[in-house]
C-alpha cells in the first residue's frame, strides 16, 4: 500500500474517531434534556423575537 493510500485511510480513521466523539457527547446523560430542547422550541417559531426587527 502506497503513502497516498495510507493517508486516505488515515483521514477515514480520524473522521471516524471524531464521529464517535460526537455520538458520545450527544448521547451522554447530562446532555439529554438540552439535546432535545430545539425540537420543542421550533414548534413555536412563527414570530420573530421582540426588538429583533427595528424596521417593522
Amino acid at each position: 500500500m502506497d503513502s497516498a493510500s495510507i493517508y486516505y485511510l488515515g483521514v477515514t480513521l480520524f473522521l471516524f474517531i471524531v464521529f464517535a466523539a460526537i455520538v458520545a457527547r450527544t448521547y451522554r446523560k447530562a446532555h439529554r434534556a438540552k439535546g432535545e430542547e430545539p425540537k420543542f422550541r421550533m414548534m413555536d417559531d412563527d414570530q420573530p423575537k421582540k426588538h429583533d426587527h427595528p424596521e417593522t
Partner: protein, 467 residues
C-alpha cells in the same frame, strides 16, 4: 420584506414560483424525452434530440426545481429557526435574478450543444462560474443569518442546511476545475481514472448534498409543523446527520466498480455505501416514530401523506442504493433501465413529494389564506404517486430483463442475444414509462393550478381588507 411577520418572505414567494416554473419545464421535457425513447422519430436534430434535451431535463429538475425550492425553504426555515430576519433581503433578491439567469443560460447553452459531458456538471465554464457566484451569495446570506441567530441551539434542519451550503461549494469547485480553450469549450483539469474518480465523487455527493440533505432539512422542519407534534428524537437526528455526512464522503467510487481505480478504493466505497443504510434509516425511523399516536393524520391531513410517503420512498431508495453498490449486483444492473427507475423514485418520490408538502404548507401562510382546494391536493397526491410508481416499477422490470438478456450466454461462451434484440424487448416498458410520465404531469398541472388559485385568492383577500 413581509412587514406583518418581520421575516423576509417576499423573496420566498419568488423562489417558490420560479422553482415551480422550472419544475414544470423539467417534467414536460421528461415526458417528451420518454416519448422520444419510445418513438425515435420524435427526435428533431440538432436542438430537439434526446442527447441535448436530456441534460436540460436533469438540470431543470435538479437545479431549477430542486435547488430553486431549497433556496426558498432555506430562507423560510432559517429565519424561523433562528428567530431573526434574513441578513440581507437585497442580496436574496439579486440571488433570485441570478438563479433564473443561470438556469435559462443552462437551458440555452445545453440546447446549443455546449456540454462538458460530465453527469450533473454539464455546464461550460462561463455558466459554471456564474453558479459559483450564485452559491456564494446564497451561502453568505444564510450563514450570516445563522451567525446572528437568537436561538443558541440549532435545530437539526439548520445542520442539514449548513452541510448543503458547504458540501455543494466544495464539490462544485473541485469537479468543475477545468482549462478553458474558448468561451464555449473547456477541458477537465484531471485526466483518465483520476477524472472519473473526481467526477463520481462529485456525482454521488451531489445526490447527497443536493438531493438528500436539503429535503431532509425540509422534512425535519415541515413534518412537525404539519402534524403539530415534535419530531421523535432530536439527538437521533443529530447523530444520523453526522453519520450521513461522514459516510457519504467515501461512497462515490461505487460508480466505478470494475473500473481501473484501485481495488481497495472500490471496496471502501462499497463498504461505506452499505453502512449508509444506518443513518438514512435513522431519519426514516425518526419520521415514523414522530407519527406515534398520529397515524390517523395519514387519512385526515393531506400534508402528512406527502411527507410520510416521501420519507418512505427515501427509505426504499436508501436500501436500493447501497444494494446497487455491491459489486455483483452493480455488474448486473449497471447500464440498464433499472438506473433511471432508481433515480426517479428518488427525484419524483422522495424529493418532490416533500417539496410539494412544503409548498402546500408555506404558500397559504405567505399569502395569508387557505389552500384553494384540499380535494385537488389529494388528487394531485394520487396522480403523482401512481405516475411515479408506474415509471419506477416498469424501469426496474425492464432493467432486470435487459440485464438478464445482456448477460445470457451460449454453452460456447458467446452472447445469446444481440444488443438489438435486448432493445426490441424494452419497447412495451418504454410505452408504460411514458404513460407514467403523463400521469405524473397531470398531477403536477393540478398542483400548479391549486397553488395559482391559492395565490390569487390570497391576493384578492388582501386587496379587500382595510389597511
Amino acid at each position: 420584506m413581509n412587514q406583518q411577520d418581520g421575516y423576509a418572505d417576499d423573496i420566498v414567494k419568488g423562489f417558490v414560483i420560479w422553482s415551480m416554473v422550472w419544475g414544470l419545464v423539467a417534467v414536460l421535457l421528461g415526458v417528451f424525452i420518454s416519448f422520444q425513447i419510445a418513438f425515435p422519430q420524435l427526435n428533431f436534430p440538432p436542438y430537439l434530440t434526446y442527447g441535448r434535451l436530456r441534460p436540460i431535463h436533469t438540470n431543470a429538475g435538479i437545479f431549477g426545481w430542486g435547488i430553486g425550492s431549497f433556496m426558498a425553504f432555506f430562507i423560510y426555515i432559517t429565519q424561523r429557526l433562528t428567530r431573526t430576519s434574513l441578513w440581507s433581503p437585497a442580496l436574496a433578491k439579486a440571488q433570485l435574478w441570478l438563479f433564473n439567469v443561470v438556469i435559462a443560460l443552462a437551458a440555452v447553452t445545453l440546447a446549443m450543444g455546449m456540454n462538458r459531458s460530465k453527469e450533473y456538471a454539464e455546464l461550460e465554464w462561463p455558466v459554471a462560474s456564474l453558479v459559483v457566484v450564485l452559491w456564494v451569495i446564497f451561502a453568505v446570506n444564510i450563514v450570516m443569518t445563522i451567525v446572528k441567530r437568537r436561538e443558541e441551539q440549532m435545530y437539526i434542519s439548520l445542520w442539514y442546511i449548513l452541510a448543503t451550503l458547504v458540501g455543494v461549494a466544495v464539490l462544485y469547485l473541485v469537479n468543475n476545475a477545468s482549462i478553458p480553450v474558448s468561451l464555449t469549450k473547456s477541458y477537465s483539469a484531471y485526466a483518465g481514472a483520476n477524472d472519473a474518480n473526481v467526477q463520481w465523487w462529485y456525482g454521488h455527493n451531489a445526490v447527497a448534498m443536493v438531493l438528500t440533505t436539503p429535503p431532509l432539512a425540509i422534512f425535519y422542519y415541515f413534518l412537525p409543523k404539519a402534524t403539530g407534534v415534535p419530531i421523535y428524537s432530536h439527538r437521533m437526528g443529530v447523530v444520523a446527520f453526522w453519520s450521513l455526512i461522514f459516510m457519504y464522503l467515501w461512497t462515490g467510487a461505487h460508480h466505478l466498480l470494475w473500473a481501473p481505480v484501485p481495488d481497495w478504493v472500490q471496496t471502501l466505497a462499497m463498504g461505506f455505501s452499505v453502512m449508509l443504510i444506518a443513518p438514512s434509516w435513522a431519519a426514516v425511523f425518526n419520521g415514523y416514530f414522530s407519527m406515534n399516536g398520529q397515524w390517523h393524520q395519514m387519512r385526515e391531513n393531506y400534508l402528512v401523506k406527502f411527507l410520510i410517503f416521501g420519507i418512505t420512498f427515501y427509505g426504499m431508495q436508501t436500501l436500493q442504493g447501497p444494494s446497487q453498490s455491491i459489486r455483483t449486483f452493480s455488474a448486473f444492473i449497471h447500464f440498464t433501465d433499472w438506473v433511471p427507475g432508481h433515480v426517479h423514485m428518488g427525484t419524483l418520490g422522495w424529493v418532490s413529494l416533500v417539496l410539494f408538502a412544503a409548498i402546500y404548507y408555506t404558500v397559504p401562510r405567505l399569502y395569508h389564506t387557505e389552500v384553494y382546494s384540499i380535494p385537488m391536493a389529494n388528487m394531485h397526491f394520487w396522480l403523482v404517486l401512481t405516475g411515479q410508481l408506474i415509471f419506477s416499477i416498469t424501469m426496474w422490470i425492464a432493467g432486470v430483463q435487459q440485464a438478464a438478456m445482456l448477460n445470457a450466454t451460449n454453452p460456447d461462451g458467446s452472447l445469446h442475444y444481440s444488443f438489438i434484440e435486448t432493445l426490441a424487448e424494452l419497447y412495451p416498458y418504454w410505452y408504460m414509462r411514458a404513460a407514467g410520465g403523463v400521469i405524473y404531469l397531470a398531477g403536477l398541472l393540478l398542483f400548479l393550478y391549486n397553488i395559482y388559485k391559492t395565490i390569487t385568492v390570497g391576493k384578492a383577500q388582501a386587496a379587500v381588507q382595510p389597511a
